[in-house]
Point group: C2
Chain length 528, copies 2
């Protein structure tokens, strides 16, 4: 079986993404996760380029990889000096990695404009730098920056540049579409030329997504013989990002019969994708191929009834192969069949003609017209379902709350206090709590009142708290008066659940979500 | 010059996206915007499938298109009846569009499993339906559902199915990769066969993005002769979405020399993309190729200095061609050059050796470590810059605020009241206001206190209000106590500006952003 190595540059090229700001600790965490996934090369960063990368290379030494090779990234030596005297190369070697990746200019425009040196001198920089490093580390990878643009404008020079790296002993030549402007047919043409020109060189591809074809360019290069793909998790990267490894890997493994990280590791892809986005504090991209929450989510009535007969009808792979799962969504387009499916998922077997289903459908459509979106809040949906089924859920009865935020000029943050009155098991509890913000204060005051009766509430951790302004309402009433949807993700040692609230008032919306979260916890501990 | 028609299905296939919920009015607005963009075919929906689509076809009659043809979408007639007696076809004709698109099964599995009919009967459904509609409307387009999967499993039958539609008079055969599982090389192979099999048929492509190659599949089909591409704005669509027209169109126009909507319309692409995401109430995808906010944003120091010499060095097209623009970002990776660039953008000419720049850099790095992200809040950045330059900005001086949210069980929403004390021009103003939520109440109370002195504040509209939980903090302190970043987008008749606040307390973070928004307005009205 043919094998292709995967080279991850999430920590270097990925970190150039506008929305990405990784701390050294984030980078260490991600690197170890990538090693677990079976990635072959992990590019840690550019030693010396910034304090984060500098610290990373010191820190990571305490955490040896299981499988992956750590690589340091940098440029060819400075034109005004020699490899021996160049601080950049010294910095690279100081990182003490067994593999070093350096990029060199292969587009004449860049040599003359960006570097401002003669074309001949640029070839020397490449050859000297590769040769110098090659004597000092196990493996030198040459990133042929702007190779495809260079090939378009001056094919002869672009080929000379990679030949220089090859003859100086580069283990692999990486053809970079640095500006992401190339189309698959152009990549195919250039790659075919490279193979003619350097038949014994082993080469790889590094594509950017500016034309939305980075994944296609990568697999096309592999189809024509590339032995390595460089990319990032979730396609993070400068501008439009890099080739998305979460799509490249399954395409190679599941569709082209090429081994990369192997089928077992493949099933960790979703977990890895989420781990990286969570660590980077980025909302995951719902529609992301293979690993996205929507990737195997079905909404249209026809599709839902078809997949209930045979998943193959509307799914290109088995979701489990990449660690994903099939989902059926509720929505105004959804008929009863979706509700029945959803209910069955949750373990409630409803009959299509059960009047409960009609009542439920009506209530859901009404709520969704107000901005509730049950496809993202399973726990709140289950509570509605339970009430429709006549379950009382009377663990406590709300009476009052009162929240104060007071700020004086000398305070850094406002003083926040909440009081809550609830009836629990026939007694009235009146509690007060301060908090970091009104929602936290309310949450703490409410739990104070309940935990005496329900000690298991102490296990609840609130993992995430999302606020979404519903811009339909923004159009009507303007910014700070608009409708908001609050999603609260809670968990205990056994499971995670998401609840929701919608209101003009962010406190009220949060309150709804927190109350649902507590009711759900109490119900599941009692019945599951 | 070769011409390819663009067929937009944002309102039908796009509306199947998990996060999309369009009202009839939203659909009408979007349709008219697409017509302006020069899209050739606009698929309005499936008449009768749901009330929204039903109403849309009535409503849109009041708004005749300038250029586009409106199409109604549906399936071949029901197996148990005839075209004449089929309610689906009747519903399609009732929509009174000049073009009708019907999909038919071309994958044997679907005929037998999903429809549960003999293969022969399925061919009859296709032929009869196309022929029947063809006598009643100007143009019938046949969507060959699952064509590429069908071709993979039973090429002969897949080709028979499209031949049936072709011979029955379909104006165009659309080869659909319904499950999005096909790779460009597979699309190329099937398309080549189709051309051999039906040399005189005109065909198009409808690709889904489940393998992240929908754009590549679409342009590959065009390269091999397809005369129409179907897709959606921003790639919205079921599961992973459809071929993204915002990438397909510029690739064809700018890279393959094929005319679609024309160069003039092309420059409206960014505006259209944002209009659709705003109308759909979806946060735009920053890294979206061509039209995304990050598409031409530069962060790395090397890249910034290179593009300052020549944009071509790191940009694959001129951003203006699609209505986008070059941006330079501030970040911990950014050096002084980014700050100088940013300051120059805002009209402040700083010298590299100016001590202000060092002070500014220090302050920005500190703030960003706290979660401030100045790349998304230009106005807040300008205020920091102004303070660093010694501008006092003493329009008012904050003393106190006090916000109350009180809810009793019978209230739908809490009662909210805010009081504010500020010194303005030597006088102390003590004002109170209610509001829809604490932030709205604070905003209103503060403006009450200021508008008497600064009547121009009445022009400010708050357009959007975004709350982001910073999960770095979530890791430390948990959900409702986590750090939040609030972004407020304000505007008056002349411009829009974004300000920011960060705090544990959502009220405090919002307060910071609102105060910045007001200070920015007062400063610009005084000086610009």
């Amino acid at each position: 079986m043919r094998h292709v190595t995967i080279y991850d540059t999430t920590l270097r090229d990925g970190a150039q993404a506008e929305e990405l700001n990784l701390t050294t600790q984030d980078k260490v965490r991600i690197a170890l996760k990538l090693d677990e996934l079976g990635i072959h090369y992990i590019e840690g960063g550019w030693p010396g380029a910034n304090p984060t990368d500098q610290k990373f290379f010191e820190e990571i030494k305490k955490h040896p990889f299981k499988n992956a090779k750590l690589t340091a990234f940098g440029s060819t030596h400075l034109a005004r000096t020699t490899p021996e005297a160049c601080p950049n190369l010294a910095g690279l070697l100081a990182a003490e990695t067994s593999v070093i990746t350096i990029f060199g200019k292969t587009w004449d425009l860049h040599a003359t404009t960006a570097l401002g040196i003669p074309l001949e001198r640029n070839l020397e920089l490449i050859a000297n730098s590769v040769a110098y490093l090659n004597e000092r580390v196990d493996e030198v990878i040459f990133d042929a920056e702007h190779f495809f643009d260079g090939y378009k404008h001056n094919p002869e020079y672009a080929l000379q540049a990679i030949r220089a790296a090859h003859e100086a002993g580069a283990a692999r030549l990486i053809l970079c579409d640095t500006n992401g402007g190339s189309l698959p047919s152009q990549v195919a043409e250039a790659v075919t030329e490279v193979k003619k020109h350097l038949p014994d060189a082993s080469f790889g591809i590094h594509a950017h997504n500016d034309s939305e074809v980075a994944v296609a360019n990568s697999i096309e290069a592999v189809r024509l013989g590339a032995s390595q793909v460089q990319g990032t998790i979730n396609g993070y990267g400068e501008r439009c990002g890099n080739a998305n490894l979460c799509s490249v890997i399954p395409n190679l493994e599941l569709k082209m019969g090429i081994e990369t990280i192997g089928r077992d590791n493949l099933s960790r892809l979703v977990a890895t994708s989420h781990y990286v986005s969570e660590t980077a504090n980025l909302r995951p991209f719902l529609r992301q191929p293979f690993v996205g929450t929507s990737a195997f989510a079905h909404k249209g009535g026809i599709h839902v009834s078809a997949i209930m007969k045979d998943s193959k009808t509307y799914e290109h792979i088995e979701p489990e192969a990449v660690g994903n799962e099939q989902r059926v969504l509720l929505s105004d387009q959804a008929g009863k069949s979706n509700i029945l499916f959803k209910a069955r998922e949750l373990g409630y077997d409803l009959k299509k003609n059960d009047p409960t289903v009609d009542r439920l459908l009506k209530e859901l459509k009404l709520k969704e017209s107000m901005g509730y979106e049950y496809s993202v809040a399973d726990a709140s949906f289950e509570l509605i379902l339970l009430r429709a089924l006549g379950k009382p859920l009377d663990y406590f009865h709300f009476r009052n709350f009162f929240v104060v935020d007071a700020k004086r000029e000398e305070d850094a943050e406002p003083f926040t206090e909440a009081t809550v009155i609830v009836d629990v098991k026939g007694q009235q509890e009146h509690t007060a709590a301060t908090g970091m913000g009104p929602v936290n204060a309310l949450d703490r005051a409410l739990r104070k009142g309940l935990e005496r009766f329900y000690p298991n509430l102490a296990d609840i951790k609130l993992h995430d708290f999302k606020v979404r302004v519903l811009s339909g309402a923004v159009r009507d009433t303007g910014g700070t008066a608009s409708f908001v949807r609050v999603l609260v993700e809670s968990g205990d040692k056994n499971e995670h659940w998401t609840t929701m609230g919608v209101s003009h008032n962010i406190i009220e919306a949060s309150w709804q979500a927190v109350v649902d979260a507590i009711n759900y916890k109490l119900f599941k501990d009692e019945h599951k």
